[in-house]
Symmetry: C4
Subunit: 271 residues, 4 copies
């Protein structure tokens, strides 16, 4: 993950646009990133459709999910999902909560989501379920109270993805690029498992050994960078690349040379 | 809902474009809105594909679905659906009749459509069926006679969505934005329920308590505005934003400042 | 159908583009129209992907599917499908042979395709199957010999659509617009029936009386014109509207005023 | 296949863009071609998403999949798939490894993929399975060692497509255009077979005689050229046509006249 704060926040917006463009996020859902230099804070957009969020919409939160500075912006009611996971999991630096149609059938049917192809290994060895109703009874089905967020974080445990019954999923990452990779291929895995189940017979899955070795391999820098560059190109083609970047680049060319994103470099060269 | 008539009619066109862009409407189907100041009248486009309808195509109808002023335009043969529901339901101010592929499988299989995820709560606690054949025998399957419309309105009863066997669905709203929200997420709920059923086992659904609390929450202004802004952005990107608005704005800037649509404001600023 | 030959040929190209844009045709398949003034001839493009065919690619054929004038163009090997149906069915003036993914599952599973919603009534009361293997044994699975085309025409009989086992479908129309309407909504019906069957229970279908009355109603000029205008708009947005039209219009404005296509009129006004 | 090296390499990039545009390749997968004048060498892009690969990214390999000239580019870890198949199969001159969602359900469910419609005949009379686990136990599921590539090539045997359990597929061709044709229609066949199986009953398939005769027919120059021109048009419309071509054409018009691609000719004429 970049160390420069502006670069991190830009990457947060790019990640969000990727997940919107890859049919993970729609009008709802949200992505956050832990502050690169203060582990007790994180950034998340103000309340709006994630695809529409700009860098100027990002709010700095403490881990109780309260804004560090007063703001007049409306906030996501479910931001405790992010704060409580950052509290419980020091190894997590990026979180997305989504309602992707690929995974929702599992949240409804209760069928276990398992890695069925090599890229699906990145969902981890287990994807637990969480049912808000178990602990909190009939609610508005949103994770708004700190204790609801903490309960979800407990269900996640040491895993990287949790299915929320009749609601959606929450995915965690060591950084934003890993998060994007796990989330998109988690959705592909879910779709493919559903289609294989429709064949009517037994559904194969990765052996525990395959899952472990393959997860480690796919989460290395090479596959993630390759997929990231591909998704960025598609975000650019969809006209979704955050406009602010170009402005920043023009104003501060020295900064651009530090950017980790090869796709941004490519773009910069073209101009 | 806006109180200004021009704003209401513009919102009707925008709602229609949203529902076309979100794959609810195709060549067929229609959306109407009750007159904001005369509860015995409503507006609906002349006979044409809803995506193609402009503000200049809107016809003012009385609740018997007859044009208030003589018109040479061809009218939708099924407009009694709208008039009869406005008669029966004073709390309804907007109606859409559609044949979305997401819900038609239920109209064919007869499987009950139930809320299976939080956003699906907005279809209400029950989605009744109506079969034109029960009362009227073999017909051309269009709801053209006042008594056919009245029969459909009775089947709808106090609910917000009714499935029409071998035909489609009709959805009602307290206003146009609520109508768009209920219709789109009703379609998402239907798709997800079909996919969860294909997993072959039990399909979970919201408890009655969850449905009630969640419906109330999701129909508040915040979720609806967030989704509306997102859909409007996509309508703009698809080149479907009604052209007339810009013209009106230029001619009457004072009016623009009263517009409720944040997306329209955004657009106005850009120009 | 227009009476002017140039208008008919233009409409043939537009119909083809509509069917390509509506996911009926891909690299393969073809559309033809009977000569408006000589019932023993028909027009069909030279051998190329139908979406790419221009008016200048159209070849005039006799009903034995031989070119009326010598041509150096390669011809569709399966053109006898068209000629033999025109021979057998004086009421047919337009034919399409396609491999749409919506209907192919029926050609593979052998499940009967039945009208399951009102617009599906236009497939007719029966969609027969034809298996080339029954009469001709192992072949290259193309309908290339006159006797193969005649066999298919016999299987079609007095119906309007025939499913070809392990191959595709052939659809007939009284004119090109009716053909487009029947073909597109036949595909929608097929998709919806598949989805309803996946619900696992009984699948409803139109009663014989409903089918007959509804077919007659939907094949009237009003629904067909409404759908046509909608599809033309989408063809225009996809950049697929045949370029030649504009040129012709400019050269001969008098002719344009005779055109039946409202969408063409609309286009003409805009320029 | 063109004999001129530059033309072959351009066709490799075009084939790759076609397969990306037709939803066969995404961030992963790769296409290669044997050197047209040195049967012990082949070309494959450096490590990057195939859709993003340019002619300048192509690396010349020997059949042990080592670069003929030193390179600082990162290489595909799975390039032995290509080298080992070229070693084992003198009749193969083009290879693609992919994870298309159309075929992965078979790699997961273990259901046999069979030709179910005429165009599907090109997958050949048998599509064998290969499970890396059988011979190599728990691995990172990538085909990286020469012996893993050789094992896969043995599983392919004399066939043209092999399904890799929990991973994807590899397809071979006598040339690049045949490869594209077999790969795309192999995916269509897979989708259609899945949909036909979902109808719940028996699934028809081509008889051995039909498969053999039809495969021979479809792999002739006529169907392949027709489909190629169609896919190229769609690649052009998607803005994916490799930019280098135009430059080369302008610099060397004499070469352009030798090009086999009719679509390129068409493009050249328009300019």
């Amino acid at each position: 993950m970049p160390e420069d704060l502006a670069d991190v926040l830009h990457q947060l917006i790019v990640t969000t646009r990727i997940l919107a463009n890859e049919e993970v996020l729609d009008a709802f859902g949200h992505v956050s990133v832990r502050h690169p230099r203060d582990r007790n804070r994180y950034f998340i957009p103000r309340h709006r459709a994630p695809e529409l969020a700009e860098a100027s919409d990002l709010i700095e939160m403490n881990l109780d999910s309260e804004p560090v500075r007063p703001t007049q912006f409306r906030l996501y009611s479910e931001r405790v999902i992010h704060g409580e996971i950052y509290k419980a999991r020091p190894d997590v630096n990026a979180v997305v909560h989504h309602h992707a149609h690929a995974v929702l059938p599992y949240a409804i049917s209760g069928r276990e989501l398992v890695p069925v192809f090599h890229l699906g290994a990145v969902i981890g060895s287990k994807v637990p379920f969480w049912d808000q109703r178990d602990e909190f009874g009939d609610t508005n089905m949103l994770v708004v109270k700190p204790e609801e967020g903490a309960s979800l974080a407990r269900a996640l445990g040491g895993n990287w993805m949790v299915l929320m019954r009749r609601h959606g999923a929450t995915v965690a990452g060591a950084d934003l690029r890993q998060l994007a990779f796990r989330t998109v291929f988690g959705c592909h895995n879910a779709k493919l498992q559903s289609q294989a189940m429709a064949h009517g017979g037994r559904v194969d899955q990765l052996s525990p050994g395959e899952q472990k070795i393959t997860e480690a391999g796919q989460l290395g820098p090479t596959p993630i960078e390759r997929a990231w560059d591909y998704w960025v190109r598609h975000v650019e083609k969809a006209g979704l690349m955050p406009a602010k970047v170009a402005a920043k680049r023009k104003a501060a060319p020295a900064k651009a040379s530090r950017a980790k994103s090869t796709s941004s470099k490519r773009k910069a060269k073209k101009r």
